[in-house]
Symmetry: C2
Subunit: 118 residues, 2 copies
DNA sequence: GAGGATTGCGCAATTT
DNA sequence: AAAATTGCGCAATCCT
């Protein structure tokens, strides 16, 4: 612990601990510095990317939420439209018995359509 | 810069710089330490929460994606069903002219339903 | 203004 | 060997 602080104070490379004095082998100190600097850059870069991804994920959520609402609305509309048609259909069938509809259980027919087309 | 390192080495509180020597006033050093420890805990806590939120956001995206697919499927099904009904309707109307349908533009009627119900 | 919460930054270990 | 990722601590700053 204290050694670490001393290393920092004297700008020594921790990996070279004990191999040399303070005044010589500055190449290795320099190399250590270069290494640290490169890593610091890499860290910044990595964290930036990470933040970007997080931000994109938030954006994604909002897009999906909007899309979802649109779809819900569409389903609602289609369902109403379908309901209206069914009622119109049944009303007509009951008022004007017709060969085309005789013997057809409209309710069942209409219910079955979606399953048939799945 | 160098002062900071010395402070670290001697475990001095930066805010108390110059107010005292190294050997006395350990209360303040202790206070500094306690402060740092509390902050370190707060940092851990905060980062944990941050990770939690990120994770939840990812989960949210997946849920929404699934929900979206379900809704798309439903829309597709309803649309097909509706299309089928319209065709059946039109076929019947053309085959058996009826007072109930006379003068009604079925295509227009069917198209207009959704707008009416919006 | 004290104290927790966030955030940027650097170090070092680990991963790729 | 080098870059990317990750945990961690410090300090500045934000927020309450």
């Amino acid at each position: 612990m204290i050694l670490d602080e001393l290393e920092e104070f004297f700008d020594m490379a921790p990996t070279k601990r004990g191999k040399r004095g303070v005044s010589d082998a500055d190449d290795e100190d320099d190399e250590y510095r270069r290494k640290r600097d490169r890593n610091n850059e890499a860290v910044k870069k990595s964290r930036f990317k990470s933040k970007q991804r997080t931000q994109e994920t938030f954006t994604r959520v909002n897009k999906l939420k909007a899309e979802n609402q649109m779809l819900e609305e569409k389903v609602k509309t289609l369902t109403k439209e379908l309901q209206f048609l069914k009622e119109l259909f049944l009303a007509h069938a009951s008022n004007t018995p017709n060969a085309k509809f005789d013997g057809i259980d409209l309710d069942k027919l209409l219910e079955d359509i979606p399953d048939d087309k799945k």
